[in-house]
């Protein structure tokens, strides 16, 4: 009936894993401990993994971007162009076409959640909404796992730029997304108190806080204390400079596009460089029930193309792409059939996501849909499978398990299977 889950007692093998280097090493469970002892701090830093998620709120029509069906009834007006990878994409993504050797398209996503809220939750967590258990999202899970690699990080490990992302679920508010706007400006950051004054207040606050926690009035109070601690860290941290995207030269800003999403992607690059393990950047406006082709051609695709290609290009050029996974997705895609108002409605049965970096092979189109885009004709993949594959790329063991209070184990990524074609 109703099962009980306790906050996890930490992922079982986290400490062990953090001493291992490289994704390849993680595959062998027979690996000797001696090897891990030889790993130097430099290697650890070099192998410091990160993930950037580009979240397309509303459900982008992947059939008009990544899996075109020109010449069919459902195909729409867009043409396909060749890319630097082994696939074709939409003509309105010319800059990305030059970066596709870094990225792969999974064209055989097949899911069941075609409602925005349910789809957003499912794609972010690998679980369908469940009234009884609040599951942690990508950002919470991955930052939780990858934090062991960066003990000195003072910035919140899970940053959501220009959108809400999804919550930390049972991992607790200490793993909640840190929501910032794409300008990188953070409200209420200016503490104009001299250090001693702040210390006095902190002392008084912690006294009240601790005595209330001791009264055992619920686990939420413990979370509150953790969040306060992180807030104090952040107030005094020099690392917060990473948010200062305004400082970037104008040419850089121009390259990403001077709009919310463009500057958000630029901010994401800065945060990854500063060591933040998980950044989500949101681009909404894909819920195109009407006039979809005009909206895509004139507005959404140019914005996406510029920012995404700049991000992939920059990370690659700076040698960060091999340790940084990039995931492009929305909650679902849109109906192959074009509706009476020139739009497409919600469709989850056959669609595409784009991934790359962190050991994920680029330049491939994995899986396929049928001629009119309505069905997947190869092995279908789920949100769980995608999440498992990204974890794998980031060197997070799929054996990682959350333990509930009653001893029930819950595997990371809901026991999804690795999409093998992404790893050659």
């Amino acid at each position: 009936m109703w099962s009980r889950f306790a906050p996890p007692s930490g992922m079982n093998r986290r400490h062990f894993m953090s001493h291992m280097a490289g994704a390849g090493a993680l595959l062998g469970s027979s690996m000797s401990l001696g090897h891990s002892l030889r790993v130097h701090a430099d290697t650890l830093k070099k192998n410091r993994k990160s993930c950037v998620m580009l979240w397309m709120g509303g459900g982008p029509s992947s059939m008009d971007i990544w899996d075109l069906k020109p010449g069919t009834d459902n195909g729409g007006p867009f043409k396909a162009i060749s890319t630097s990878g082994d696939m074709q994409i939409c003509e309105h993504m010319p800059l990305m076409a030059k970066q596709m050797h870094h990225m792969s398209i999974v064209r055989s996503m097949s899911t069941r959640e075609a409602d925005h809220n349910r789809g957003r939750y499912y794609m972010h967590t690998g679980y369908v909404p469940d009234a009884n258990v609040d599951y942690p999202s990508y950002g919470a899970v991955m930052s939780h796992e990858l934090m062991a690699q960066r003990s000195g990080l003072e910035i919140p490990p899970f940053v959501s730029v220009g959108g809400a992302s999804e919550g930390p679920g049972f991992l607790g508010m200490a793993w909640a997304p840190f929501n910032v706007s794409s300008t990188g400006r953070i409200r209420n950051m200016e503490a104009k108190l001299e250090g001693e004054r702040l210390a006095q207040r902190r002392f008084a606050l912690e006294t009240i806080e601790n005595s209330f926690i001791a009264q055992k009035r619920g686990t939420v109070l413990e979370d509150h204390r953790k969040v306060l601690g992180k807030t104090f860290d952040l107030l005094t941290s020099a690392q917060m400079e990473a948010f200062n995207v305004e400082k970037e030269p104008d040419a850089e800003k121009e390259k990403y596009g001077k709009n919310g999403f463009g500057q958000g992607c630029l901010l994401a690059r800065r945060l990854v460089e500063a060591g933040v393990p998980f950044v989500e950047v949101d681009l909404g406006g894909w819920d195109n029930h009407q006039r979809i082709f005009q909206t895509l051609e004139n507005d959404r695709l140019p914005t996406l193309d510029k920012a995404m290609s700049a991000l992939v290009g920059d990370l690659s050029q700076r040698g960060l792409l091999e340790d940084t996974a990039i995931v492009w997705m929305g909650e679902f895609a849109r109906t192959p059939r074009i509706n009476a108002e020139g739009g497409r409605d919600h469709w989850a049965r056959a669609w595409s996501v784009v991934v790359g970096g962190a050991g994920i092979q680029g330049g491939k189109a994995v899986g396929a849909t049928n001629e009119d885009g309505t069905q997947v004709v190869t092995e279908p993949y789920s949100s769980e499978d995608l999440m498992a594959s990204v974890c794998h790329g980031l060197g997070i063991s799929l054996e990682t398990t959350f333990t509930s209070r009653n001893g029930r184990p819950m595997k990371i990524a809901n026991s999804g299977k690795i999409i093998k074609d992404l790893f050659g």
Partner: protein, 602 residues
């Protein structure tokens, strides 16, 4: 068999309670703690009584419960309070847990102020309650909060805020081109709650309203603001989903495109329900002389609807199945009741018909009881509270059904429902978790047993109002201006998801942005200001000792005296600040306002 034994248990406890519970109802929880031994003895005695009482226990239930006060006057609590308590007791026994003891009076006082009028009590109100020695002081306080003139405005404001967020979201009417006028929505709701309009009348008005959205405009009807932003786009599918979800607890939005995978709702039902909204239009009225055609307000109207078949006599709508097939739909209520097919408003006003049908639906009663229960107790009988579909399990279904029926039978009087819930045992118990109920932890996926009060964070509105009271801030301007200021402040926490359905979330959720606001935000700066004329300045200047001043701070903010270690911290700060009392008070007040004990409702 299980059902019968459950009934027997309930009857058993009914008898125990009716005859043996201590005179003072507010000590009931204590009784169960202390009475372990005597309960065994009672068990035998009542086992015998049970045999005789089974026949009449249900048929002969007293309508009210009598309590003898110290001053020998009889206080009567509604019978629903007992009904709730019996069901809870039975459930606790079944799961082998025991309720927490009754919450300390001042903590409870803070709780009920937050939930009923949306803010913490003032120093004076705490004192008033502390001084009251009557046995029924809790009952008196609830009655004061819902009935006395001095609270009418705050009561109405609180429930108006709650319902505005339910009906149009935190973002509705906040954007430039919005078709909804947030102020108009709030004005209507404030009026409803100030006059304690029966809940069913309010729903009927919200569903059938026509007129102008903006206050002061001719034909103003604030109730129109609920639907104004939900009828024009996408054939009114948003109106369809919102009306069924909010007022009937039925989630039909998935069936817009396909049959529901988990329950019996079919796509056909969605479009039949949708057909009720198709005569309705929101007409934009532009700002006179505006070049950009800025929307001044909206008029929500009913107009003749010809349907896709251009036949007004029999106005039909079409929808597409997944396989591309097109089907036809006419207005049919969720329970299968059909109305006339005509699209002429003069023949069939579809929303009026819908309103009538909704008034008969038992889901109307359940949806509101569930919403109110969750408002006060943190969780509803179902999770989420607005999904009463057959696929979703219900906790304590019999109690839920009975409360819903009783609510209908008391003419949908929300104030009575508030009394039932706030006087019941689950609302009296402490938020302290004991070893006998630590398994009752719904945040971890358990079904809620309500054996201890679930600690939860204040809402942003509650924080705003509480700070105003605690610091006696004289907010400037008219009532409307004050509301505008509050709405402006609220904006910072809203994040929209960018979908057509206007989905949104809040960052006032216990994460870092909220902490930053409480550390450094303007509202806090104002609250801890030492400027001449400010509350804290007044306190600093008062003739009392520093210790008295600290005590004043703790009572005003937390409803309790400071603990020795807290006084000690204050003294250390005072020394460091070279006896500057004002600065010390500022630091302590800042710490209190940032503490878990302040921001949580417990």
């Amino acid at each position: 068999m299980a059902g019968i034994s459950q009934k027997l248990i309930i009857i058993f406890f009914a008898e125990v309670s009716r005859n043996v519970w201590p005179r003072n109802v507010w000590r009931r929880a204590d009784f169960w703690r202390r009475a372990d031994v005597s309960r065994a003895v009672l068990g035998v005695a009542y086992g015998l009584l049970l045999v005789f009482s089974v026949g009449f226990a249900y048929g002969d239930e007293p309508t009210v419960k009598s309590v003898v006060r110290k001053d020998a006057k009889r206080v009567t609590l509604p019978k629903q309070v007992e009904k709730i308590d019996l069901s809870m007791s039975a459930n606790w026994s079944e799961f082998g847990i025991k309720p927490s003891p009754v919450e300390d009076d001042l903590k409870w006082c803070r709780r009920v102020f937050l939930d009923v009028v949306g803010r913490i009590p003032s120093f004076e109100e705490f004192s008033e309650f502390a001084k009251d020695k009557a046995a029924d002081k809790r009952f008196s306080l609830v009655n004061r909060l819902i009935n006395e003139d001095r609270y009418t405005e705050e009561y109405a404001n609180n429930w108006s805020s709650v319902w505005t967020n339910v009906l149009i979201g935190r973002n509705g009417g906040m954007e430039n081109r919005s078709l909804t006028n947030r102020e108009g929505m709030q004005k209507y709701l404030r009026d409803c709650f100030a006059r304690n309009k029966p809940y069913n009348d309010m729903v009927l008005e919200l569903v059938t309203a026509s007129g102008a959205t903006k206050p002061g405009v001719e034909g103003f009807n604030g109730a129109t603001n609920f639907l104004a932003m939900k009828v024009n786009e996408e054939d009114g599918t948003q109106a369809t989903a919102a009306v069924s979800r909010i007022f009937l607890g039925l989630q039909v939005q998935c069936t817009q495109c396909h049959n529901h995978p988990f329950n019996q709702w079919k796509q056909q039902k969605f479009w039949e329900f949708n057909a009720f909204f198709r005569q309705t239009r929101a007409l934009r009225k532009f700002v006179p002389g505006s070049v950009n055609r800025d929307v001044d307000h909206v008029e929500l109207i009913n107009e003749d609807f010809s349907g896709k078949g251009s036949n007004t006599e029999k106005a039909e709508i079409y929808y597409s199945l997944r396989n591309g097939l097109t089907k036809v739909a006419y207005p049919v209520f969720l329970d299968g009741t059909e109305i006339g097919k005509s699209g002429y408003v003069s023949q069939v006003n579809r929303r009026d018909e819908l309103g009538k049908l909704m008034m008969e639906s038992p889901f109307l009663d359940k949806a509101i009881v569930n919403r109110m229960w969750a408002h006060f107790l943190g969780y509803g009988f179902t999770k989420p509270i607005d999904d009463l579909g057959p696929h979703n399990p219900t906790t304590q279904p019999q109690l839920f059904d009975e409360l819903a029926k009783d609510f209908r039978n008391t003419s949908y009087d929300l104030k009575q429902l508030i009394v039932w819930i706030t006087m019941s045992q689950p609302y009296q118990v402490s938020s302290r978790i004991t070893k006998d109920n630590s398994s009752d932890e719904p945040s971890l996926g358990d079904t809620p047993k309500f054996s201890h009060f679930y600690t939860r964070q204040m809402g942003a509105e509650q924080l705003y109002q509480s700070l105003s009271v605690a610091t006696q801030a004289n907010r400037k301007g008219s009532l409307e201006e004050q509301h505008r200021q509050r709405e402006e402040w609220m904006k910072q926490f809203v994040i929209a998801f960018g979908t057509d359905e206007g989905d949104e979330t809040t960052t006032f959720n216990g994460s870092i942005p909220q902490s930053l606001m409480l550390f450094n935000g303007d509202l806090i700066k104002e609250a801890i200001s030492l400027e001449t004329g400010s509350w804290l300045h007044g306190l600093a200047q008062a003739k009392s000792s520093p210790t008295d001043k600290i005590q004043h701070l703790f009572i005003a903010g937390l409803g309790r005296r400071p603990k020795p270690e807290e006084v000690s911290v204050a003294q250390q700060i005072l020394v460091k600040r070279k006896n500057e009392v004002g600065g010390m008070l500022q630091d302590m007040w800042w710490a209190i306002l940032n503490s878990n004990e302040f921001i949580f409702n417990h």
